[in-house]
């Protein structure tokens, strides 16, 4: 009885002290995080709020005026419902963007998964893994623009690929669809972003307990069964992170589609860029809000898709 009382009495000041210390530490942590908050508030959250606000404003040829109108949004969907089955510009643009998303996602996923699998399961030592990663990342230390124009000597009318095809007698005239085409856009985007798929998938694969794979083999699973029943489900978080990254980048892309498409292919990002050039800021803002919604839908679809696969 007395014992409890004394220990209780002794504990109280200690707890109070630790409580005060943890309060001070919490305040300290808050202050340490403050600079990052300030940057994100000033250059990310506030700009997003401004964009949403301006999407309801009016504009003339020279200026933008505060208002609360929905015309920018109704303009976006002008004719989208009435003219069906003919597609309005906005729907066409989004369909084209979605097409690129799907193609690039598939290409980077298959390629990225294969490379990550090779690095995680077939390369046995850490130094070799690091070396292979360095080999893959060095081309990324140059400008994104340069990585795109680098395709010109290969894919152009008189480029190496056409020269080789003609030399081998496979084609008689140069292929025109190699450069400044859908194909070129998909190729360049795959080239730019496969590594963003490799890194997170590799990361999840390295966390897979190797004993599980041996157990699958011992239980009589074939290599393919081990892959689909053990490796892929356990690599899911990496696949998900890589997919979100690639899909959102392609959805908002305007540079690669612009340069590799010869400025001829429509995308949502390019539409926004064009509207900014014509100083139609409220229209561009409305488009940006729509793009944001589309990106969020895509992310939630990805999250759900992966969840459903686990349920099956």
């Amino acid at each position: 009885m007395t014992d409890t009382a004394t220990s209780g009495a002794r504990a109280t000041p200690a707890r109070a002290r630790s409580g005060r210390r943890s309060l001070g530490a919490t305040a300290e942590a808050f202050l340490l995080a403050l600079p990052m908050w300030v940057v994100f508030a000033a250059f990310f959250l506030l700009p997003l709020a401004v964009t949403v606000t301006v999407s309801f404003w009016e504009f003339t040829q020279y200026s933008i005026e505060p208002a609360f109108i929905f015309r920018n949004y109704t303009d976006l969907f002008d004719g989208c419902v009435e003219d069906l089955p003919y597609l309005c510009t906005t729907l066409k643009t989004y369909l084209s963007t979605l097409k690129f998303c799907a193609a690039v996602w598939l290409a980077t996923l298959v390629l990225g998964f294969t490379i990550a699998y090779f690095l995680a399961f077939h390369v046995r030592t850490l130094p070799v893994q690091v070396t292979f990663f360095l080999i893959c990342t060095i081309p990324f230390w140059t400008s994104i623009v340069i990585r795109m124009i680098a395709w010109i000597p290969l894919l152009g009318r008189n480029g190496l690929v056409n020269a080789a095809l003609q030399g081998a007698g496979i084609t008689e005239t140069p292929l025109e669809w190699l450069l400044y085409s859908d194909f070129a856009v998909i190729l360049a985007l795959t080239h730019l972003y496969t590594l963003f798929m490799v890194v997170p998938i590799f990361n999840s694969m390295m966390r897979i307990d190797r004993a599980l794979i041996e157990a699958a083999a011992d239980a009589g699973a074939s290599g393919w069964q081990t892959l689909t029943n053990v490796v892929i489900p356990l690599a899911r978080p990496g696949i998900l992170i890589g997919s979100i990254f690639v899909v959102t980048i392609v959805m908002g892309d305007f540079l690669t589609i612009g340069i590799m498409g010869g400025q001829q292919i429509a995308s949502v990002g390019k539409t926004i860029q064009t509207q900014i050039q014509y100083l139609q800021f409220p229209l561009a803002a409305a488009n940006a809000v729509l793009l944001l919604v589309a990106v969020m839908l895509a992310i939630s679809a990805l999250l759900r898709m992966v969840d459903i696969r686990r349920e099956l």
Binding site: A25, T26, A29, F30, L31, A33, P35, M36, W37, V39, F40, F43, F44, P47, L48, V50, T51, V54, I64, T114, I115, Y117, F118, H122, I135, I138, W141, T142, S143, I144, V145, I146, R147, M148, I149, A150, P153, L154, G156, N158, G159, L160, H191, T194, E214, G223, F245, T248, I249, G252, D253, F254, L255, I276, F281, A284, A285, A288, L291, L292
Partner: protein, 287 residues
């Protein structure tokens, strides 16, 4: 897998990996080779002689490209972004070692900043500064009417736009660093009577220093290469990637390849220097 023999899939996957490396390197190798084109050479193979002609054209500024200004601007901006990214990320990384009010929200905001399309961020910052300009002109009276142009600029909106791109990466790296950090060293320092700052300066910082080089490399290269977020926020002065993007439509000589070779060489040198520093720091720690 543990026994010495390689399964057949190993060879197939090795071939895929080799092709992937060729896919990554092929275009780069092609333009580096073509930048040494002879004076009569064009944008595609074959090589017509081997010369430094196009480098000379580029560096003497008598060609169509004036790149020195943009190069220096981008370099200075990338250095500032690098330093700020390291400092702000380390502070936030230290903060995230415990739960504080708004910690989860900050994490979500940082991840959102990675995911939101760059054109949206760029447009938003551009609009924000347009409105700020309007406010300054309205409130500044006569002086503003006469002298004020815009708040948009490399070190205001430009710097901010780059930080929204580099800081999330910096923060995620700091998470990885502090996940593996052993707090026993700090406790030992405190037990020996070190103050908070002394503990950080003499214990925590030396341990995490090699990883900070990684944050610095990310901060520098992400800023150096940034284009999408820069598009609406740099004001009247272009950065190097913006200049390059503009050149793709106007330059029709191998000069642009010479420029590509030079800028690539510059970034490779910088990364190499930083990696050597990181290696030296780790070695010193090992002793």
């Amino acid at each position: 897998m543990g026994d010495g023999r390689r399964p057949r899939s190993f060879y197939a996957l090795s071939a895929v990996f080799a092709l992937f490396v060729a896919f990554l390197w092929g275009p780069m190798v092609a333009i580096v080779a073509l930048s040494f084109q002879g004076p009569e050479g064009g944008l595609v193979f074959p090589m017509r002689g081997l010369s430094l002609h196009w480098f000379e054209v580029l560096l003497s500024n008598r060609g169509s490209v004036d790149i020195t200004g943009a190069f220096l601007r981008s370099f200075r901006l990338a250095l500032v972004v690098m330093v700020l990214t390291v400092v702000i990320s380390v502070m936030a990384g230290l903060a995230f070692r415990r739960v504080f009010p708004g910690s989860l929200a900050l994490l979500y905001v940082a991840i959102a900043s990675l995911i939101v399309p760059s054109i949206v961020v760029s447009l938003g910052i551009g609009l924000e500064f347009r409105l700020l300009d309007g406010a300054v002109k309205a409130l500044g009276g006569e002086w503003a009417q006469g002298n004020f142009v815009t708040l948009l600029g490399t070190y205001t909106s430009g710097l901010g736009a780059h930080l929204t791109w580099t800081l999330p990466f910096g923060l995620l790296i700091m998470f990885a660093v502090f996940n593996r950090f052993d707090p026993a060293y700090e406790e030992a320092a405190r037990d020996l009577g070190a103050g908070k700052w002394q503990t950080f300066r003499h214990v925590t910082l030396p341990i995490i220093a090699p990883f900070l080089i990684g944050v610095a490399v990310f901060g520098f290269t992400l800023s150096w290469d940034e284009l999408a977020r820069s598009s609406q926020v740099m004001g009247s002065q272009n950065t190097l990637p913006m200049q390059l993007a503009a050149l793709t439509t106007t330059v029709t000589t191998p000069e642009i390849y010479a420029l590509a070779t030079l800028t690539t060489g510059a970034s490779l040198c910088l990364v190499a220097v930083l990696l050597v520093v990181a290696w030296a720091l780790r070695r010193r720690q090992g002793e």
